[in-house]
């Protein structure tokens, strides 16, 4: 099984490397997001130039994270891709349907507070996690 062991190394190494790259870019994105959100207030006193630079860096790192995510997905095998695709579709659908209804709640005076985007992001994240777990269980 020498050849197969080599292939195993190739496949697992590739996935491991993609996973690591995605983790690094996601961490970088979170850090740059935190800088763009808090630094204007606590570090450079709303200096417009520095704030714009921080925001542009955050967006650039965000796009790089998307590329890393794409590479990660492409490196998975077809069943793993299917599980994640179904999970992403469900998360997007739930986010759209619940998000629009949630936004409507304030307009029709059923809630007094303003709907926040992070609530939808959290809902989509939880939906995605449950869908991935459910997908893996389905094919066990």
């Amino acid at each position: 099984m020498t050849d197969q062991d080599i292939k195993k190394d190739t496949y697992q190494t590739k996935n491991c490397a993609n996973n690591k790259t995605l983790r690094n870019w996601t961490s970088a994105w979170v850090i740059t997001m935190a800088i763009a959100a808090f630094a204007p207030r606590f570090i450079w006193d709303f200096n417009t130039t520095l704030t714009i630079i921080a925001l542009l860096i955050n967006i650039a790192v965000g796009f790089r994270m998307l590329i890393a995510n794409r590479d990660y997905l492409r490196g998975l095998d077809e069943m793993q891709q299917k599980i994640l695709l179904e999970a992403m579709a469900l998360a997007l659908g739930v986010g759209l349907v619940v998000g629009l209804s949630y936004e409507l709640l304030e307009d029709i005076k059923l809630i007094t507070f303003e709907p926040e985007i992070p609530h939808i992001v959290i809902l989509m994240g939880i939906t995605y996690i449950f869908a991935v777990i459910s997908g893996h269980r389905k094919y066990q």
Partner: protein
């Protein structure tokens, strides 16, 4: 779709992990295919056929009976 992947693997005394590495997929995918819970794509079926030196029809069979 039925398949003989588990039998063919056992004949060669391979583990699921070894077959997975040979086909460049995850062990979970091999497990799902063997249990008939996931149908592989045509390229993956061809890869399996090449690995076992068999035709695709000798490994995978359609469960729908043709009259």
């Amino acid at each position: 779709m039925k398949n003989r992947l588990k039998v063919l693997r056992a004949e060669r005394d391979w583990t699921q992990a070894q077959l997975a590495s040979a086909l460049e997929v995850s062990r979970q995918t091999i497990n799902a295919i063997e249990k008939g819970k996931f149908d592989p794509s045509l390229p993956l079926a061809f890869k399996a056929a090449r690995l076992f030196n068999l035709t695709i029809e000798e490994i995978f069979q359609d469960e729908v009976e043709v009259a």
